[in-house]
Each structure stands twice: as C-alpha cells, then as structure tokens.
C-alpha cells in the first residue's frame, strides 16, 4: 500500500507543503539567515528521500505539480513591474549599468575562478551562466558544450545562497537603496533570490524580477561571444 501511495502526486505535494510550513515556522522563530525556508525545505526533503530510500522520480510525481506553478509566477512578475513602473523607469540608468556590470562580473568571476583553480573546460562553461534563470542557463550551456545537469544544480545552489544572505550581505557592504538591493539579488540569484526579495521589499522585488529577464537575455547574448574570444 505504501508503494502505491508513494506513486500518487499526493506524496510529493504533501511532503513539500509540510516541509515548507515547518521551515517557515522555524524561520519565524529564529529569524536567522541560516534557516532560510527554501534551503531548509530542500535540504530536509533530500535527507528524507535518501533516508527512506525513495527515488527522486517518485517524489517528482507530486513535486512537478508544485514546480508547474513556477511558470505562471514568473509571468506574474509583470504585475509588480507594472505597478512600480514610474519608480523603475526613473532608475533605468542605474538598472541597466548594474545588470550589465553584474552580468560581466558573473561570467568573469565564475568562469575565471573555476579556470584558475584547475576546472576542466566543460566545468568552466557549465559554471559561467550560474546566475541566470535555469532554462536560459541550460540552453546556453547546451550550445557551448558544457554539462547541462551540472548547470541546473549550480543555478539552484547559487539561488539559495543569494536568497539566504543577499539582502543581509548588501546591507553589510553599504548598498542602501531597496531598488539596488533588489537588482543585486535578482542579477546574482535569479528567481530564488527574487522570491526572497518579494518578501523583503515590494520595489526591490519588482526590480529583482526585472533583473532575471535582463541578466538572462544579456548572458545569452554575451557568453557565446566571450566564449569565442577565449577558445
């Protein structure tokens, strides 16, 4: 009977929701960046699945239902963008400069560090677009001959890292404007960072959502050119 139940969407959906609710409770109690709800839920579910010897594809039967909602959520990012359009247009110069510099810094630092530390060509290519939203990052890496699943994993890890400490790190280094914090977190940590920004600040969340699209398109255009220069 257990096996049968594990093969229905009920399992994946309920463990995800229960895990997330518990992680949120833990976060509200502690208010510590170490207990970021997404990172804790992901970590907890991985431990649970490995502990109970349940393969990922069985979890995904239900998990895919939740993942599906990500698509319309990204579309919905147009709503805060539209309602804060005046404030965003007033900052168009700083937004464009910030994303452009962030895009180059991301490709340069991720690819460059991996190369200096002796990473293979495939790994360097797979790392370079790690700050970009998953579907864009994967299509770039496929074209340049990297390892798409590795990129997918690194994109998620980068997102969790940015979501966990992005707003706090920005405050620490003296970035004060909420729009600049949103731009930084969205450029570095795409959708997962944006999800966190939406909880922190409305304008920051809107700008962060914009940064996903801008950095994604810019990286899709620039990374193949940079790759040609170095190969």
């Amino acid at each position: 009977m257990i096996q049968e139940l594990l093969s229905t969407p009920l399992f994946g959906i309920s463990v995800t929701l229960i895990g997330y609710a518990l992680a949120q409770l833990l976060y509200r109690r502690t208010r510590s960046v170490l207990f970021n709800p997404v990172a804790i839920t992901i970590g907890g579910l991985i431990v649970l699945l490995i502990g109970l010897d349940i393969p990922y594809r069985q979890y995904a039967i239900g998990g895919d239902f939740i993942l599906f909602l990500l698509g319309p959520s990204v579309v919905a990012l147009a709503v805060p963008l539209y309602s804060r359009r005046q404030e965003i247009l007033a900052r168009k110069k700083s937004i464009l400069i910030g994303v452009f510099a962030g895009c180059l810094a991301s490709i340069g630092s991720a690819g460059g560090l991996a190369w200096i530390l002796g990473g293979s060509r495939e790994v360097v290519v797979s790392l370079a677009p790690k700050s970009v939203t998953t579907p864009i990052a994967i299509s770039i890496v496929e074209k340049l001959g990297g390892i798409p699943p590795l990129t997918a994993a690194l994109v998620v890890l980068t997102g969790c890292l940015g979501a966990m400490c992005g707003p706090e790190f920005c405050r620490l280094i003296g970035v004060r404007s909420p729009a600049a914090v949103g731009l930084a977190v969205g450029t570095a940590a795409h959708g997962i960072g944006t999800a966190r920004m939406l909880e922190v600040d409305h304008l920051g969340g809107a700008v962060s959502g914009l940064a996903i699209g801008l950095n994604g398109m810019l990286t899709a255009f620039l990374l193949p050119l940079i790759y040609l220069l170095f190969s």
Binding site: G71, P72, G98, L113, K143
Partner: protein, 114 residues
C-alpha cells in the same frame, strides 16, 4: 481569480509559442512576463484582473522552487570530482555579482537623481 490565472497561463503559452517558433534561448515564462507587461501597458488586460492571483503566487514563489532544488540530489555526483573549483567559484562569484551590481546601482541611482 480564475480569470487572472487563465490570463497568466495564456501569456505563458504565447511566450512558449513565440520562443519555440523563433528558436530563442529565452524561456516561455520570461517572454510571457514581457507579454503581460505589454498587455497591462496597452490596457488589453486590467491590473485588477491579475493582481489578486499575482499576489497569491508571488507571495509563495519560494515554495515553487523546492522541487527543482530537491532535484539537485540526482546530480550531486557531478559536483564530486571537481568540487573545489566548483564550490569556490559558485560561492565567491555570487557575492562578487551582488557587490558589483549593488554598489553600481546604488551609486548611479543617488548620483543620477530621482
């Protein structure tokens, strides 16, 4: 709420169709976001139709990333052999990007005037 959800899905669907037919590397949901923005701007879609569902979805957006994150477990072995360059580059680069973008955006925002 149902109308709003349908509008979001239609935008995503059109985004997928445009992206695939033009062979763009940009995902359908990002193109859908652009389409919804244009629809709101042109008055084709009213803000009131989509604001309720957008607030609901965006308020829980973190949750929707959980399954993709759990999927990392299936690729854990890929990180194995070259874990040092991968980990250092991923962590350091994430902070470098936030610092570069945050500092520049903050500086040009205050310098450029409101």
């Amino acid at each position: 709420m149902v109308r709003g959800f349908a509008i979001l899905l239609i935008c995503q669907l059109l985004g997928e169709m445009i992206g695939r037919s033009l062979g763009l590397p940009i995902p359908g949901n990002v193109l859908g976001m652009v389409l919804l923005l244009i629809s709101l701007r042109s008055g084709l879609v009213r803000l009131a139709w989509v604001s309720e569902i957008a607030d609901l979805l965006l308020g829980h957006m973190s949750l929707f990333f959980v399954p993709a994150g759990v999927g990392v477990m299936t690729y854990a072995a890929l990180i194995g052999k070259e874990w040092l360059p991968i980990t250092v580059a991923t962590v350091v680069s994430t902070f470098v990007v936030m610092a570069v973008t945050g500092w520049l955006a903050d500086r040009y925002e205050t310098g450029g005037g409101e």
